[in-house]
Amino acid sequence: MPETIKEIQDEIIEEFSMLDGDQEMTNFYIMELGQKLPELEEENKTEDNIIKGCQSKVWVVPVPEGERLNFKADSNSAITKGLVSLLVRIFNHQKAEDILNADLYFIDKIGMNRFIGTQRSNGFGAMIKQIRLFALVQKDRIEATK
């Protein structure tokens, strides 16, 4: 049984609480998380897969697996890569419906808004929106085959 979106968020909140609100440490931790994200194949780094709304380039590619979704992602910015890795970690192997209904309370709890500023927040928001769009497409696809 995979962990639920809520369980993963709680883990992330726990991890970030150890950084004590130090922004520099938080940045380094986010970048460390990004480094663990598997490299995205060059052929997937296309204009179509870029998420708009951020100063940096972010690619997110959905990989459907039955009724669940997996994601591959990358960025040309180390910090953004770390941020998108958090979303991949939360949403990987979840049902489309759960992705659509998820309450992402971790963003506020780890002080993402406060730390990341409006511009980056928008980029982060755009990533979430795009992932939800992928989930919506997946949900429609599943329902069509029923």
Partner: protein
């Protein structure tokens, strides 16, 4: 490269006592950001405001607020007098012949748009050519593109060399009888380059073209005399020279302004209105339709007074010392490359670091309380010229210190160590 600023004759740091005295005038500087003392190096985007500017805004709304020019009561007269005093202060600041040549706008962008719409509409026709440079801000590219599209005119671009200097030979090749207008930046926001604008103006005039100078980045740093430069138009923004946001200036020569049609229509800009015919007011009011940003224009005078009280020569000497020191220190950082190494520069240090994305640099410095700018700085064609997506840019002002640059360099060294594998 550390010789860049050594070529300036006077590049001495103001004494730390003097800088401390100046810093005390800027309340915003005395705060912590992310637990660290604020280091504000985003002055090319906007400068901070001295207490006198903040007080003037407060004073205006507390004592003098009224609509200007038409009221006959005491408050209206006081507000009008204060508004017109700023116009005279700007006239003196720019060395304009008369106050009527000073038009208040929303900012440099608005000023350039005014020229493009008004002068452009009346004077540019099919087959004409407009020349800009490769280092222009988008606000000095797009208005001309739109005008050229409208009129069937052609936009020509002066290339820049690797150091970020305009190629005057190439400019001369572009000039012809077809050239109607040349619009160039006095000092580049993303490279710092100070362009040889006097030479650019004289060459354009020899072909009968008029010249617009984008003075947004020059006005807080360089001694400006529009009559000596002999430019036809000069645009600036108050907020980049210690004044409020939302106020700018367009200087224009009287004989040109008088012949230009109004840009926007409404109150103030008219002389007489009937449903059959409207006659327009005289300059500058012809171009100031509607109630202007009175309070901010009034407070702008305090910013001019602040600059004059220190003196441009002293401001420049201190900023050039900061720039030379920054260049020298930044170049010690492994993998760092300065973008924009012109011989004449304002206090802008733009750079890229190998394997470190500029956005991450900005984010990491912010964690240390250091405010810089990252990205393309609204000069995408220029970034394309260098084959980069953007830079990290630290821009210095009169209230910055050598110690703050040390702080920046220390932060960058740490970031580079952590991020470059």
């Amino acid at each position: 490269m550390s010789s860049i600023s050594a070529q300036h004759s006077d590049t001495t740091f103001a004494s730390s006592f003097e800088v401390q005295k100046i810093r005390e005038m800027f309340p915003i500087l005395h705060q912590e950001v992310n637990g660290k003392p604020l280091v504000y190096f985003d002055n090319a985007a906007t400068t901070q405001k001295p207490q006198s500017v903040i007080d003037a805004l407060n004073h205006y709304y507390t004592h003098d607020n009224a609509n200007i020019h038409r009221g006959i009561h005491t408050l209206a007269e006081r507000a009008t007098a204060a508004f017109e005093e700023t116009r005279q202060a700007i006239q003196a600041f720019l060395g304009a012949r008369e106050p009527e040549e000073i038009i208040f706008t929303k900012g440099t962008t608005d000023s350039i748009n005014l020229v493009a719409h008004s002068f452009g509409k009346a004077n540019v026709k099919e087959g004409d050519e407009i020349i800009i440079s490769a280092m222009e801000h988008h606000s000095n590219i797009v208005p001309w593109q739109i005008l050229c599209e409208d009129k069937g005119a052609k936009l020509k671009v002066i290339p820049v060399n690797e150091q970020g200097e305009i190629l005057i030979d190439e400019y001369q090749k572009l000039l012809s009888e077809k050239t109607k207008l040349v619009s160039v930046v006095y000092a580049s926001n993303s490279l710092g380059t100070i362009n040889p604008v006097k030479e650019i103006v004289d060459l354009a005039h020899s072909y009968g073209a008029v010249v617009v100078l984008d003075g947004a980045q020059a006005s807080a740093h360089l001694e400006i005399d529009v009559q000596e430069l002999n430019c036809d138009f000069f645009a600036l923004s108050a907020h980049k020279m210690y004044g409020p946001t939302g106020v700018g200036v367009l200087y224009g020569k009287r004989r040109l302004l008088e012949k230009m049609p109004p840009y926007q229509a409404g109150g103030e800009m008219i002389s007489n209105v009937s449903f059959e015919k409207t006659t327009y007011n005289d300059i500058p009011y012809k171009f100031e339709a509607g109630t202007p940003n009175i309070a901010d224009v009034v407070a702008f005078k305090q910013a001019i007074d602040f600059i004059q009280s220190i003196g441009k020569a002293k401001i420049q000497a201190h900023e050039q010392a900061l720039l030379a020191y920054a260049h020298q220190q930044l170049e010690q950082i492994p993998g760092l490359k300065i973008i924009g190494t012109a011989r004449e520069k304002v206090s802008v240090a733009s750079f890229v670091i190998d394997q470190v994305f500029h956005f991450d640099i900005g984010q990491m410095l912010d964690a240390r309380g250091i405010a810089i700018r990252t990205g393309h700085h609204c000069t995408q064609p220029l970034m394309d010229r260098y084959g980069i997506e953007g830079t990290a840019r630290a821009s210095f002002s009169v209230y910055n210190t050598k110690e703050e640059i040390d702080n920046l360099v220390e932060g960058l060294s740490k970031i580079v160590k952590m991020m470059r594998k």
